[in-house]
């Protein structure tokens, strides 16, 4: 009995081994903002190419880029541009600079609670709020209540984007509460009536999206405004590679940039690059 079971296992192992060896696996890791998007791409791609396995994991842009430096992922998803130090590490490892590909566009959106009277803020006002200089909603046209700012963990690409493009490179106020993931921020702002948070446009449900004021015009993070670059806080979503793409990795990237792949971008709620 035992022997038959054992030999059964061995036979099963022998049968499975060549299969897994043949099928290539492409690992995609990084930005939590991009996980849903890459997952949809992977599903559609694997339906067409059953021999290839695409593994998508999140963890934040920094995580993906760190994995690329450590050589543990094929593609790093990132919602921010690579830092010079990170690029240098990859150059040293592979004797080649990292390849960057913009695969989709996104508008970083600031959210407030539905009951908040504030509709639009300027970038300067957002900066003052997140630096901790403005601490009451009445200073920016709201009711007399303390502002409760929510931020993301510092492994998040969105964190770095806001730090660079809203705060001008300065640090967030220590009072800003950091939450893991945009969904957590949205949930917090939906429950905290004096809260303010930020994240990708795809997550903007159940809360009010703030428009960004530029001069007299309040610009909403809508598809046209982001695609045309009129919305001041639009950004690219990137795939980073350790070296020039080849084989299955190239096939997957080509698919993501194809008309079909870019249609998926729109479905998910981001904006196509083409």
């Amino acid at each position: 009995m035992k022997k038959t079971l054992l030999s059964g296992f061995v036979a099963f192992g022998l049968a499975v081994l060549p299969l897994t060896a043949q099928a290539g696996t492409v690992t995609v890791k990084g930005s939590d903002t991009m996980v849903i998007l890459a997952q949809r791409w992977a599903e559609a791609f694997m339906k067409k190419n059953p021999a290839t396995k695409i593994q998508v994991t999140g963890g934040g842009s920094g995580t993906g880029l760190a994995a690329l430096q450590n050589g543990t992922t094929d593609i790093a998803m990132s919602s921010r541009e690579i830092k010079e130090a990170e690029a240098a590490k990859i150059r040293a490892r592979n004797n080649a600079p990292p390849t960057a590909l913009s695969v989709a566009k996104d508008g970083v959106t600031f959210y407030v609670n539905e009951t908040n009277k504030v509709e639009a803020l300027t970038v300067e006002q957002l900066k003052a709020i997140y630096l901790g200089d403005t601490t009451n909603w009445k200073d920016v046209g709201g009711q007399d209540a303390p502002i409760v700012p929510y931020s993301r963990e510092n492994s998040s690409g969105t964190y770095v984007f806001v730090k660079d493009h809203v705060l001008g490179g300065e640090d967030f106020a220590p009072e800003a509460q950091t939450l893991p993931g945009t969904a957590a921020v949205v949930n917090a702002v939906a429950k905290e009536k004096n809260g303010i948070g930020y994240g990708g446009a795809a997550y903007g449900k159940g809360i009010k999206e703030l428009k960004v004021k530029k001069g007299h015009e309040a610009i909403a993070p809508s598809a046209e405004n982001v695609k045309s670059g009129k919305y001041p806080l639009s950004r690219d979503l990137f795939f980073y590679l350790g070296k020039a793409p080849s084989g299955e990795v190239k096939a997957f990237i080509d698919f993501a940039l194809s008309a079909e792949g870019q249609a998926i971008v729109t479905q998910v709620g981001y904006f196509p690059v083409k």
Binding site: G59, G60, G62, T63, A66, Q69, N70, A85, E86, K89, L131, P146, V148, E153, N154, S155, G169, E170, D171, F172, P174, E175, A176, Q177, T178, L179, P180, A188, K191, E192, N194, G195
Partner: protein
């Protein structure tokens, strides 16, 4: 060889074949168990060595020494131009600020809240279960509370985040929904069963004769429980509290989810906090291996280990004293 030299020359009794085989088997089993035990110890030592080695970069590497010197970790630093010096944890800033003080305060606040709730709850619960509860109730009570220990901490964290946070904010009017109180109460849920179980075991281990003597002298059941059984079980109860404290200080998920993770220096329990363990969990994903920030996170790990180690040591010493006193009193 040495043993033979030292031992007086006594003729060994000749063993039968079967007896010798049995002896060999015994020896083999003993060796196996020893090997397993030492594997465990070796694993522990290796983990400690690894963590300490990674943290040591802070001392050996010049760049890391510059970025995260001990004075930067523990003394006030410049935060922003025109603002007073302060303690800020911003390790990914252009000018990294690596003050440990807000993390210490955060850990202390959540741990204090959780211990303040969990210690009385656990001890009195155990006292009730061991001394006053009818047998039937006790048989239900104990496994129920122990079941609480089996709930994964993510679930407790989620409960604290979604349910307790809103409730507590409405009740106490906290400015920030996620704060030390929410995280501390979430932690307390995880610690109560630990303290309860160990305390209950310690209380039931107190000899019956103590209770009978006390009752025979005319003490009420409450006086017996409070003045005789509880002190007699003191070392066990202290062990329970230390175990609970260790869990509270090292528990990560609940704090990560429910504390708000803002590294603020403030003693207000209604403010958000960032704890040492949650900092490791939140930032480990993003660091580049070998960077000063990476070494810093390992250094936090060393600190957490040292805290629990020192506390265990102190508790062990105190327990020894108490046991000696109890023995002296009895004799």
């Amino acid at each position: 060889m040495q043993e033979q030299d030292l031992a007086p020359p006594v003729a060994l009794p000749t063993l039968s074949h079967a007896a010798r085989r049995r002896q060999l088997k015994e020896k083999a089993i003993a060796a196996l168990i020893t090997a397993v035990a030492f594997t465990g110890i070796a694993a522990l030592v290796l983990i400690l060595v690894f963590v300490a080695k990674e943290a040591l970069t802070l001392v050996t590497d010049a760049a890391a020494r510059e970025e995260a010197s001990f004075s930067k970790m523990f003394l006030p630093q410049m935060v922003r131009k025109g603002k007073p010096l302060g303690y800020v944890w911003q390790p990914v800033s252009n000018v990294p600020k690596v003050s440990m003080i807000p993390l210490f305060i955060g850990t202390l606040k959540t741990t204090a809240v959780s211990m303040l709730v969990a210690v009385p709850l656990g001890i009195f619960g155990a006292l009730f279960a061991a001394e006053f509860a009818p047998r039937r109730l006790r048989e239900v009570l104990k496994p129920t509370i122990e079941l609480l220990a089996g709930i994964p901490s993510v679930v407790l964290g989620f409960f604290a985040l979604m349910v307790m946070a809103s409730f507590l904010q409405e009740t106490f009017g906290f400015t920030s929904r996620l704060n030390a109180v929410v995280a501390g109460l979430g932690l307390a849920l995880a610690i109560v069963p630990v303290i309860f179980t160990v305390t209950e075991d310690a209380l039931t281990a107190v000899p019956r004769s103590y209770r009978e003597a006390s009752l025979a002298l005319g003490a009420t059941p409450w006086e017996t429980a409070w003045k005789v059984v509880l002190p007699a079980a003191a070392p066990g109860i202290l062990a329970a509290c230390v175990l609970g404290f260790g869990r509270a200080i090292g528990e990560t998920m609940i704090v990560l989810m429910a504390s708000g993770n803002a590294a603020i220096v403030s003693w207000n329990l209604g403010d958000s906090v960032r704890s040492l363990s949650a900092t490791i969990a939140a930032e480990m994903g993003e660091v580049v291996v070998g960077s000063p920030h990476y070494a810093l996170l390992f250094f936090i790990g060393v600190e957490l280990f040292l805290f629990t180690f020192v506390l265990n040591l102190l508790a062990g010493m105190w327990t020894k004293k108490v046991i000696q006193r109890l023995k002296g009193g009895a004799g």
